[in-house]
């Protein structure tokens, strides 16, 4: 793909100075803005690459192809396209949530682009299975999807387009969702299904480079046991248990997150 087209498609931004590159990949339902509290700690020493997955944030929505992005591979390809476009080598990839597995698959496919991977709240499989506690039953996820369908980023963003008919006034939908992550509700719905129904447990063992798992306390989406599973099944994986609660330590506890990343990098 034409490098400029990739940079435009994924709204790629490069900041900071340094010979090493940190590639930050946001999780489901967000965009590159989620990294704003941690970036400042790295800009002096590293070149930082930020992007939005196709369909998320300020990416080119017209390039979103529901068939391509119906599996996690579509998102893996986004990361590889960006690496190729920027001619990245031995990059440090930092992925939140579903992006952990995106980074893992990208590094298995093209290891030369990456030096280390950092997983924030990773989960190789959200659904419970035989001898595996993912934390969710199928009904739980169905209830989340239902919840999202009627409540994407707030009542009005879900109801207004549904009632008024978004097709006639597309600017309305954009306006309503732009207060946080400018993600199209339909795309978010598809992304959620890709995220929560993927199973990458058997991919873990194929990683050939070093990685770090950042495990939060009381993370309902990626419970403690899941983090331990990732650590146990991924060769060369270190794990750090954060005091931060919830699923987004880079937002709720940026200092602790920065410290853990820096320790791993040095």
């Amino acid at each position: 793909m034409d490098p400029l087209a990739v940079l435009k498609r994924n709204n790629v931004k490069t900041i900071g100075k340094g010979s090493k590159t940190l590639l930050f990949a946001h999780g489901f339902g967000c965009d590159q803005n989620v990294w704003q509290f941690v970036l400042g700690a790295f800009t002096d020493e590293y070149r930082i690459v930020l992007f939005d997955y196709t369909g998320s944030g300020n990416s080119e929505k017209s390039r979103y192809d529901s068939a391509k992005y119906a599996s996690i591979d579509g998102y893996v390809q986004d990361v590889l396209d960006i690496c190729e476009a920027l001619e990245l080598k031995e990059t440090i990839f930092i992925g939140h949530s579903v992006s952990s597995m995106v980074g893992l698959l990208a590094a298995i496919k093209n290891p030369e682009y990456f030096e280390k991977l950092i997983f924030i709240g990773p989960s190789p499989r959200y659904l419970n299975a035989e001898n595996y506690e993912g934390g969710f039953e199928k009904e739980d996820l169905d209830s989340l999807f239902e919840f999202m369908d009627s409540n994407y980023l707030g009542w009005s963003s879900a109801m207004a387009p549904a009632i008024m008919g978004n097709a006639d006034r597309p600017e309305l939908g954009t306006l309503l969702t732009s207060n946080f992550c400018a993600t199209d509700p339909q795309i978010a719905r598809d992304f959620a299904r890709v995220t929560f129904f993927s199973d990458n447990r058997t991919d873990l063992k194929n990683l050939t480079i070093k990685s770090l798992t950042l495990q939060c306390a009381q993370d309902i989406l990626a419970p403690l046991e899941v983090g331990k599973f990732v650590h146990a099944h991924t060769p060369g994986n270190e794990i750090v248990f954060l005091k931060a609660t919830g699923h987004c330590p880079h937002i709720s506890a940026p200092d602790e997150t920065i410290r853990a990343i820096k320790t791993f990098l040095n």
């Binding site: 919840f147 980023l153 009542w155 549904a162 207060n179 937002i251 709720s252």
Partner: protein
């Protein structure tokens, strides 16, 4: 001019504590980690918890599982990034296990370092509103389903269906339309449609359309439309003005039916009547001439002319008889009245017998090959002979240069096959398929060959009714073989 009330008189009226506790909404204050620090009485009442039941609990425990995930994935990040969350639709768990639908708004309070110190939450009871919302969702879904059903139906019908604005711009066209013109839904503009109309009908179309649209009268025009293979097909375009429900908005609803085969069939029929009239007229003219001559010879019954004239009359009457029989046969076939009188007979004998008259009258050599001895079939002998004679007559007529005509009789366990081969000029390959069609003649009107072009059609119908097969093989310059087979049972 009324004076604003003094602060002193306002204070006793507005009790801030009561306002907080008894507000028509729930108030909740959380720590940065989501631990409940303070809750008003309204919310306590709504959820059925005492104050102590709330304090120190994590807010997340009040949420359903879907809500918990949403809270972690959206509420917390949004609040951290924007310090404000507006109108999230959540469900809170009541003490008695029921759920309370609420609209949640929150604001984050930060210290000087920018850290969140407190989260203030307002909750509105939207139980009733939820009911209406669900109704709206359901009716919208129903409407969409209806639309899909109609669209599906519209796509199934063999006609083109369209809807247009008052100015004639298409707002909807069905799949048939897109298929005929090989275009997408959004390509279908009025100009696009006009560009597909045959030049001879364009002006009339524009005139009729503007007239109909002006007077609000129904539109009905026959026109030819360009298909994807570059030829024109006849269509009947119809349109009616209809009133949309809201604000008396008008539009057009219409169809466009392919009438090409119908128009062509009518044309074919006209042509056939033309041919039939000519064919019938020739022997009648000849008869009239013979009659006039005979009239003159009335007083001379021994004139040597008379037997020749009688011979001609006889020939022409027979000719008329054949033509009229053919026409009757076609009539019977169309009405499904062609009756078969089946019986067991020797087909080889039937062929030999019917060849006898040809051998007497024609200079051509007839050679019969294949099966020897009796070959019994169960069929209508008269109709079978009719088919065979038709083949032989055709060979004599269209392959007049042929010195021999070979008849071959072969059989298998399933059927018996009779072929008639000539050494005539042959028939072009592209004409072979149509030979057995009604009214079809390889040579167009005015050619040197006589006939209605019905013979082979009648033959094929007779054989079809016997559940047999009929066909032809031909090579230009070498000759043709017409064959039919009858099942042996």
């Amino acid at each position: 001019m009324p004076q604003p009330p003094y602060k002193a008189s306002l204070d006793p009226l507005i009790d801030l504590e009561a306002l907080y506790q008894q507000a028509p909404c729930g108030y909740l204050s959380l720590s940065a980690d989501g631990i409940i620090l303070k809750v008003n009485q309204t919310l306590q009442r709504w959820l059925g918890f005492s104050n102590d039941g709330f304090i120190g609990q994590s807010f997340i425990t009040l949420l359903t599982k879907g809500g918990k995930m949403h809270y972690e994935m959206f509420f917390r990040p949004i609040l951290s990034l924007k310090s404000e969350v507006k109108e999230l639709s959540y469900e809170l768990r009541k003490h008695n296990g029921q759920v309370l639908p609420v609209l949640l708004s929150a604001i984050a309070i930060r210290n000087q370092q920018g850290e969140i110190t407190l989260i203030n939450v307002v909750l509105l009871d939207i139980t009733e509103r939820k009911v209406y919302e669900r109704e709206i969702f359901l009716s919208k879904k129903r409407a969409e389903n209806e639309k899909r059903h109609f669209q599906f139906m519209a796509d199934q019908v063999p006609e083109m269906i369209w809807r247009a604005s008052t100015r004639g711009e298409p707002e909807y066209v069905n799949a048939r339309f897109c298929h005929y013109f090989a275009c997408g839904q959004n390509q279908a503009s009025f100009a696009f449609f006009v560009s597909k109309v045959h030049p001879e009908e364009k002006r009339n179309l524009l005139r009729q359309v503007s007239k109909s649209f002006r007077l609000g009268k129904e539109l009905s025009i026959a026109l030819r439309l360009l298909n994807t293979s570059g030829s024109y097909e006849w269509h009947l375009l119809k349109g009616t003005l209809f009133l949309k429900e809201e604000n008396d908005d008008q539009g057009w609803f219409g169809t466009c039916t392919n009438t090409d085969s119908h128009v062509l069939a009518l044309k074919e029929k006209d042509e056939f009547i033309n041919i039939a009239s000519h064919e019938l007229k020739t022997p009648i003219t000849s008869l009239l001439a013979s009659m006039q001559l005979m009239e003159k010879l009335k007083g001379d019954p021994h004139s040597p002319m008379l037997p020749r004239l009688i011979g001609q009359v006889d020939k022409n009457v027979k000719r008329l008889n054949v033509l009229v029989s053919d026409l009757l046969n076609v009539g019977q076939l169309r009405e499904g009245q062609l009756e078969l009188h089946k019986g067991l007979f020797d087909i080889r004998k039937l062929i030999e017998d019917s060849l006898e008259q040809f051998r007497l009258n024609e200079k051509v050599e007839f050679i019969v090959q294949g099966a020897q001895g009796a070959l019994k079939v169960f069929a209508d002998p008269g109709r079978t002979e009719q088919v065979f004679v038709n083949f032989v007559n055709n060979a004599l007529k269209y392959a007049s240069g042929s010195k021999t005509i070979i008849i071959s009789i072969t059989y298998s366990s399933a059927d018996v096959k009779v072929s008639v081969s000539d050494h005539g000029p042959g028939i072009p390959a592209d004409k072979l398929d149509q030979l057995f069609d009604r009214y079809y003649r390889v040579n167009q009107p005015g050619s040197k060959y006589k006939g209605l072009g019905l013979g082979l059609y009648i033959c094929s119908e007779i054989i079809k009714r016997h559940k047999g097969q009929i066909g032809v093989e031909s090579e230009l310059g070498k000759g043709s073989t017409f064959w039919f087979s009858l099942p042996l049972r």
